[in-house]
Amino acid sequence: MALLWLLAVPAIAAKKNQSDGDDSAMLFFLLAMLSCLLLPWTLAVLWYFLFPGHAEVAKAFPTTIEGSRVRLCSTQAMQERREADMRRLKSRHISAGFASQRGEFKRLVLLVLLWCWLLYIVVQVRQVLATSALYQNFDPYAILEVGGTSSSSQIKKAFHKLSLKYHPDKNPDTAAAEKFILIKKAYDALTDPVAKRNYRLYGNPDGPTRVELSVALPSVDKEKQGLVLVLFLLLFVIGVPLTLLYCMQSTSIDQNGLPRITNEVLQNGLGDTMDVRAVQELLLRASAGETKARDDHADLRKQLSAAGATFVRKRPEDAEDEARLQQAEALFWAHLLRRTDLLEIDLLEPALMHWEMTCKALLQLAAKKGFSQTLHSTLDVFRGLVQAIEPSGKGAGALLQIPHFTSEQVRMWQKRNKKYATFPTFLSMPSQERSTALSTEELGLTGNQRADIEEFVACAPQMQIQASRVFVQGEEEICIGDVATLELRLLRANLPEGEAIGSAHTPHFPSAQVREAWWVTFRLPGRGKSGVSVCSRIADGSREFVAHIRFRVPLAGKCRLRLTLSCEAYAGRT
């Protein structure tokens, strides 16, 4: 019964206006239920309006990790990005659960309507309380017109006074006779021991009366009962299955947040030894179907192609698919070549976020299958995406990651400073020397921009492997088939003591929440030429930490492992 009742509440609510008057119990029930629902809801809404997105921002940009302060790269571009991110998080949270502003509005209207209904019920309840005899309790003190703390002699006196007035012998009125019975009952309830006990226990001096049970439902006319039944039937037979069907249909998104079709393309297209170009093509093919093509972007593609873009070799047969792929390619290359000024459409941000997700899924897949070459190519593409540089390492390359460096400046820099012409050497350059080199007029950097570069250098990772060892947990020696553990002690040399790294410096990427994670890969020798690769992701942001990687020992004898440690967020850091 309980469940039916809970489900029935809305149905009753709809019909409430027809019934009137005698359903006072129903009113109380609705009042209680509505207040239980509305109070927390209103409080929650108020909370969101006062502190929008508080928890989300704290989660996306934590201030401390395990007690160490998080260092966020505070170049101008990144700060703006972060603020935009926070604004987006906050605005998104106001409409909690609803994607659009309209949903938010609907929710507020519903809330206000419910409040109005509650007020209406309160008014009705007040009326009922004022008129209904049901709620005027039997109060012996009030009937005898004495105070609640009167002594027994006072009660006796009052009783005598009233009985003189209302006794049937003195007063022939029938109403008076009824009143006298009530007075006698009240007097008994206060003096007679049995009646007193009964009154205390059951609220009635006559002892327990028969308990009347009823349900706080509005009374429905005989003719309307059929209608109510039909409504119920409709709700259960049609409403519930339809809702279930609706839920069933919207499960085309897989657990990693990607559409199932995209995952299938990724699964099928994944190969052991894919180069960067193959990964790019797979990525574009997998997610080209996301948005509708608006234009064929022929000019744009021509320009990009001249700047070094390579397009997918295996074209789809369908014209529609072809158009979508062309649009995706245009977006992709405009971003990588930093020629977003050529774009006339504003589809880049969602596309980038989607590619990032797809890339991560691809990384996970490659790591699971142990395809280390594919993994590295995917990593190249991923870095290219978040840093807006060409993945294949062509063009100005990794130095473009430095803030305010365009290909012009990179060329200039490489010409003047031959010794520090690569990204790692740029980072490890003595700071005195670097600042003098940067302040040459040819580069045309202002003071603020130079400060940004210094800030970037302080945040850009300089990962060092302190120590590494291989052992088998709980055993003395290592044998074939054991699960060995590789322990890596890593240090971020760029950070001072007590700090941890936050999200990476990604001024060209729409989100400021790209984590600075690392991938460790190494190849285990097998019999003959065979062998397996082990790939593992390390996402610890601390300054100094230990990573454990477990693998099966394949062969007997001594063996050296070549470790490759590559950063997910920055190119040129391996």
Binding site: F29, L31, N137, M248
Partner: protein
């Protein structure tokens, strides 16, 4: 085959047994939730549909104490609840454990046959129970019902029983989360608690109408009574219906049980075949879960039943009097124990009673704690979770403890398991006493069951979502 086996008798029946086919792919999390929801919906609908053809029954409910545990609703299709599944599962486990039924769980065909046998047995039990219910006059004398109606009732109960069996199988084969049994039990208890808190039923005892639901009653009393303080007092402490105090007690017990759920000892184990593969074998404080309290309740209710029966027949017999003396209360006409052993193992109802007869209260507490601990210890031997059995299981999985020889495994486990079982049983008992004394809604046993089940679900959902998250980083 050579040797004749009991299990092979099931073979011819396998083709007619209804079966849920095993899923051919991994069911995504959302779909699992959906299937779980659907089965729950079917179950709840069955709980509300009254049986056709029964005459109105006013007699007291002899199975009241079991209803919560067996998720059954009186007079509806779910009259039998999950008792057929539970019974068949337990009996088959016992048969397999005592080697009366030879099953090789490592052979796929044997496993299938075993499951088939369990299902068949469950259906037979459903039929048997349905017949017993009808013939024993639960729905009025068979003469009044007539043969046609009697058969109809049996058929209804049987069909409902088969539906529950299939729903359970559906959930267990990987379409849903957890097992049907625990899902239905937990739902039943949560439904009771919600109903007691928000029930719109009113009763009129002469003081004016009063709501049964505790929260609704609080609002109603506060608004309608002129004296707000007494109204509040009544809403919190009324004895005739659920009050706010018992609601709070329920919440309190909920949190207590959840807190204690996490208590466990993790024993490090390592794989013998794959060296370096370490893991842990957790031994929970609630090692036997809520079994001890279920067994204890069963014992006490049987004792009550027989004592009451005997006392009605032989009031003068001294031994009968020593077992229990009964008296009917003024208002409800319920029999309550007033003397003898039964009185001492019945819970005191209020602080006043504890004050009047402290020996009774003390005896009751000691009895519950000791009996729960003993039942718990006994259960681990029966159910195959004793130290020796666990050691055997570990050995079969090629697991051993670092620093100990293989033969020492039972000894090491023996250090923890019996202690955990006995102490955990006593804790469960203590929790039940506290819950019942505070008047927690849905009885202490019920809350314990519900919390353990909901906690299991919580862990499962966390794991499922964790898998999704791991894939996404």
């Amino acid at each position: 085959m050579g040797k004749f086996r009991l299990l092979d008798l099931v073979k011819p029946c396998m083709c007619v047994l209804p079966e849920v086919s095993t899923p051919d792919r991994r069911i995504p999390f959302r779909e699992k939730i959906l299937w779980t929801g659907i089965s729950l919906f079917v179950f709840l609908v069955c709980c509300q549909i009254p049986l056709y053809g029964i005459s109105a029954n006013k007699s007291t409910d002899p199975f009241y104490w079991m209803r919560v545990i067996l998720a059954s609703n009186r007079g509806t299709l779910m009259e039998l609840g999950i008792s057929p599944i539970v019974t068949s599962g337990m009996v088959m486990q016992l048969l397999a454990g005592s080697k009366l039924l030879e099953v090789d769980q490592s052979v796929k065909e044997d496993r299938m046959l075993f499951q088939g046998a369990q299902k068949l047995f469950g259906m037979v039990i459903t039929l048997g129970e349905a017949m017993a219910y009808v013939l024993s006059g639960m729905y009025g004398p068979v003469k009044d019902l007539g043969a046609g109606n009697a058969i109809l009732i049996i058929l209804q109960l049987f069909c409902a029983g088969v539906i529950v069996l299939i729903l359970d199988e559906l959930l267990q084969k990987g379409y849903g989360l957890g097992s049907g049994i625990s899902l239905f039990i937990a739902t039943n208890i949560c439904e009771t608690i919600c109903w007691k808190a928000f029930s719109p039923t009113t009763m009129n005892t002469g003081k004016g109408p009063e709501f049964e639901g505790a929260v609704i009653a609080l609002f109603h009393l506060l608004i309608s009574r002129s004296d707000k303080f007494t109204a509040l007092k009544e809403a919190f402490y009324r004895q005739t219906a659920p009050n706010i105090t018992s609601l709070f007690a329920t919440v309190l017990v909920f949190f207590f049980v959840i807190y204690f759920q996490g208590f466990r000892v993790d024993l490090a184990v390592k794989n013998q075949r794959v060296r370096g593969q370490m893991g842990s074998y957790p031994i929970k404080l609630f090692y036997t879960s809520n079994i001890p309290i279920i067994l204890q309740t069963a014992l006490v209710s049987n004792l009550y039943f027989f004592s009451q029966l005997l006392y009605k027949r032989f009031k003068a017999n001294m031994i009968v009097n020593m077992i229990g003396q009964w008296q009917e209360t003024e208002i409800t006409g319920q029999s309550i124990p007033v003397g003898g052993l039964v009185y001492y193992i019945s819970p005191p109802h209020s602080f006043g009673e504890v004050w009047d007869d402290p020996i009774h209260a003390l005896f009751y507490v000691v009895f519950i704690l000791v009996s729960c601990a003993l039942f718990s210890k006994a259960w681990i031997d029966v159910s195959g979770s004793s130290a020796r059995d666990v050691a055997r299981q570990l050995r079969e999985q090629q697991l051993m403890m670092p620093g100990y020889r293989d033969s020492d495994l039972p000894k090491v486990l023996n250090r923890y398991i019996p202690t955990a079982a006995a102490f955990g049983g006593a804790c469960i008992g203590a929790l039940t006493i506290v819950a019942d004394f505070l008047g927690a809604i849905g009885s202490g046993t019920g809350i314990l069951l519900a919390v353990t089940i909901i906690y299991e679900y919580f862990e499962k959902i966390c794991k499922e979502e964790g898998q999704g998250a791991a894939f996404m980083f």
